[in-house]
């Protein structure tokens, strides 16, 4: 498992903020978010509607400008670098989108879709076609399919085409934004296995954004949980899922219904997710938190490193279980 602290992070995001003007007000979709992704590791980013995880993905990809904060990739601050100086960044950081139906141009052949990044970076038509063949093979599709159009493929196959396109330039970081959420479960597993294999073979890092906790558990080395624009917990995968410390993380996990002979109805966390336009004062989770106290309403708790690699934004995080067999 990678993610050791001695490595220089591949991606480092510091105090990232993104505001949107909405009517007369301001919406802080991303509010002071700090995290890193090490080479070859997968950081899962989870949360529900309005948490800001998709916006974080867009910011990291430089598809949206940040309102404040820094994005450092491979030691270089890319936050405000003009587009024409981002060529190497664009090669190194790629994306796989959620919707396999709208992310592929229906009027282009697979060869042209997957080859487009290569052509953008100066490859000849012939060289691009040869590389497309290799890429299709890498994602488990017959190279001979490259002359077909997207409509000839199933959702899972289209997602593979999207992955092939993302791999074309040999990226080091792949941002996966709900990359398997639109797929049937039987196909989802194929694509998840493919991503795991590619990570191993190519040393890819992944920023895996998803609302599906089980999928995130499966693919991630470390996980960050967001709520209403803020990070509330970051921890290694096993620690987060087995011993969540933030009340929201606990509630989130308890709400997931699991298939099994002893399944029970999932635990209910009452209350609505507040509007990001008008977040609660103090701790943003206090309106729904079973443990909220006066202190929580008065002031926002900071994101604190409770143990190395474990961050929690809570005045009363769940204590670590006592370790008897550490």
């Amino acid at each position: 498992m990678s993610g050791s602290q001695s490595l220089t992070p591949l991606l480092s995001v510091e105090g990232l903020v993104r505001e949107f003007r909405v009517g007369a007000g301001v919406l802080r979709a991303v509010d002071d978010v700090t995290f890193h992704v090490d080479p070859g590791e997968t950081l899962g980013l989870v949360g529900e509607s309005g948490c800001g995880k998709t916006t974080v993905g867009r910011l990291v990809l430089r598809l949206l400008p940040a309102t404040a904060g820094r994005i450092v990739f491979d030691g270089r601050d890319v936050t405000d670098v003009p587009e024409r100086q981002l060529r190497e960044f664009r090669r190194a950081v790629q994306v796989v989108f959620q919707d396999p139906y709208s992310s592929l141009n229906p009027r282009l052949t697979v060869r042209d879709i997957v080859g487009e990044p290569l052509r953008n970076f100066g490859a000849t038509r012939r060289a691009a076609a040869a590389r497309v063949g290799e890429l299709l093979d890498t994602v488990g599709l017959p190279p001979g399919y490259m002359m077909r159009y997207p409509h000839a493929f199933s959702g899972g196959q289209r997602q593979r085409i999207g992955i092939a396109r993302a791999l074309a330039l040999g990226p080091r970081l792949l941002v996966c934004d709900e990359a398997v959420s639109s797929l049937d479960v039987s196909v989802q597993a194929q694509v998840l296995n493919l991503l795991a294999d590619l990570q191993r073979q190519l040393g890819l890092a992944l920023l895996f954004i998803s609302h599906n906790l089980a999928v995130v558990r499966h693919v991630s080395h470390r996980v960050a949980v967001m709520y209403l624009g803020q990070l509330v917990e970051i921890a290694p995968e096993a620690a987060l899922f087995d011993h969540p410390r933030h009340p929201y993380t606990r509630a989130l996990l308890a709400a997931v219904p699991e298939a099994g002979p002893d399944a029970v109805p999932p635990a209910v966390l009452p209350g609505e997710i507040p509007s990001p336009l008008d977040p609660p004062a103090g701790c943003r989770f206090q309106t729904r938190c079973p443990r909220a106290e006066a202190r929580c309403r008065a002031a926002e708790p900071p994101l604190t490193e409770e143990q190395p690699g474990r961050w929690v934004r809570c005045y009363f995080p769940e204590p670590e279980p006592s370790r008897r067999t550490a």
């Binding site: 049937d184 196909v187 597993a189 109805p265 966390l269």
Partner: protein
């Protein structure tokens, strides 16, 4: 005792420019009074078409080729539309996946619920609106007197789904069909809506047919589960038994490919291949091209849905033989 709902040998096809395409093949399932039955399947399984058939909502291109849909013993299929209008929303109600497209964006939500009461129960406008406020309260919408005046876009996804449930339950239907009712919702909101469906169903004595691709949702809610694949029922069993000991290879694989939140597995099993298109169904068993347990017989002859014990049916030639080796 007659079942509340009995779907018997239902076969449906869609009329297309290239000829009729079969989408349901001899589907049989039943729901007892007050029971919660889960209907599980992926795309192309036919689960939504089954639901629409039960409500007579197949549309111009849908054609019932064979079968019966009996509510309290009465076959609904031959009914003229004006009789269907008395069943839909009154005896059988439905909640869909996307509340934004089920609710009319131009009218206040209270009005839309009141409409159901006026139409089916003959209530006057004022009385219907008052009752709508009560229904909103029953489904957990805070500040219902104000919310009835909101338009759909002013409500969150979870709230809209509560409105849909209020609308569906307004006439205390005998059967509520939920077609992926929580799929579009956040997980904490999903838990609330599932709890609501369960509590309301119990309080009103309404049976629920819960359709979902999410096995966890079905496991949490249903006492019996029906699994569909490519237009057919492939397995049916009490929920606990199905999850403890799935007998159809597809069911077993489906359980193996879904990652769990409570426990991480090293590698997910995957099901090779993809779901067949209705216009290109395999000969023999429809699942055989993807089945790790297929034998030559599976390619040649389509298996029948056979009983395996008093409460279980499986559509697989090898189900009994494989059962001995099955463990989860």
């Amino acid at each position: 005792m007659t079942d509340l709902l009995e779907v018997r040998d239902l076969s449906v096809s869609f009329v297309t420019s290239r000829g009729p395409v079969p989408v349901l093949d001899g589907v049989s399932l039943s729901v007892r009074e007050g029971e919660v039955v889960g209907l599980v399947g992926e795309s192309g399984s036919g689960k939504s078409v089954t639901a629409l058939s039960i409500l007579g909502l197949l549309g111009e291109q849908g054609r019932v080729d064979a079968g019966q849909i009996r509510l309290d013993g009465r076959d609904l299929l031959p009914l003229p539309e004006r009789e269907w209008l008395r069943v839909r929303g009154r005896q059988i109600a439905m909640v869909f996946q996307e509340p934004m497209t089920s609710l009319n964006p131009l009218f206040p939500v209270g009005f839309q619920v009141a409409e159901v009461l006026e139409e089916h129960l003959g209530l006057g406008r004022r009385e219907a609106l008052a009752r709508a406020v009560e229904l909103f309260r029953d489904v957990g919408i805070p500040d219902p007197e104000r919310r009835v005046r909101d338009h759909p876009h002013q409500l969150s996804g979870g709230m809209r789904q509560r409105v849909m449930i209020a609308m569906a339950m307004a006439c205390r239907p005998r059967l509520l069909i939920g077609d992926e009712p929580t799929t579009a919702l956040d997980v904490t909101i999903q838990a609330q809506i599932l709890a609501l469906l369960r509590d309301l169903g119990r309080a009103a004595g309404t049976a629920v047919l819960l359709i979902s691709h999410d096995l966890g949702v079905v496991a949490a809610m249903a006492s019996r589960v029906v699994v569909m694949y490519a237009g057919q029922v492939v397995e049916e069993a009490p929920a606990r038994e199905l999850f403890r000991e799935p007998r159809h290879p597809y069911t077993r694989l489906l359980l193996a490919v879904v990652p769990g939140v409570r426990e991480k597995r090293a590698r997910l099993s995957a099901i090779a291949g993809s779901i067949p298109a209705p216009s290109a169904l395999p000969v023999g068993c429809r699942f055989h091209p993807r089945c790790p347990d297929a034998i030559p017989l599976c390619r040649e002859a389509a298996p029948t849905l056979d009983p395996h014990g008093p409460e279980r049916r499986v559509r697989c030639w090898r189900a009994a033989e494989l059962a001995d080796g099955v463990r989860l």
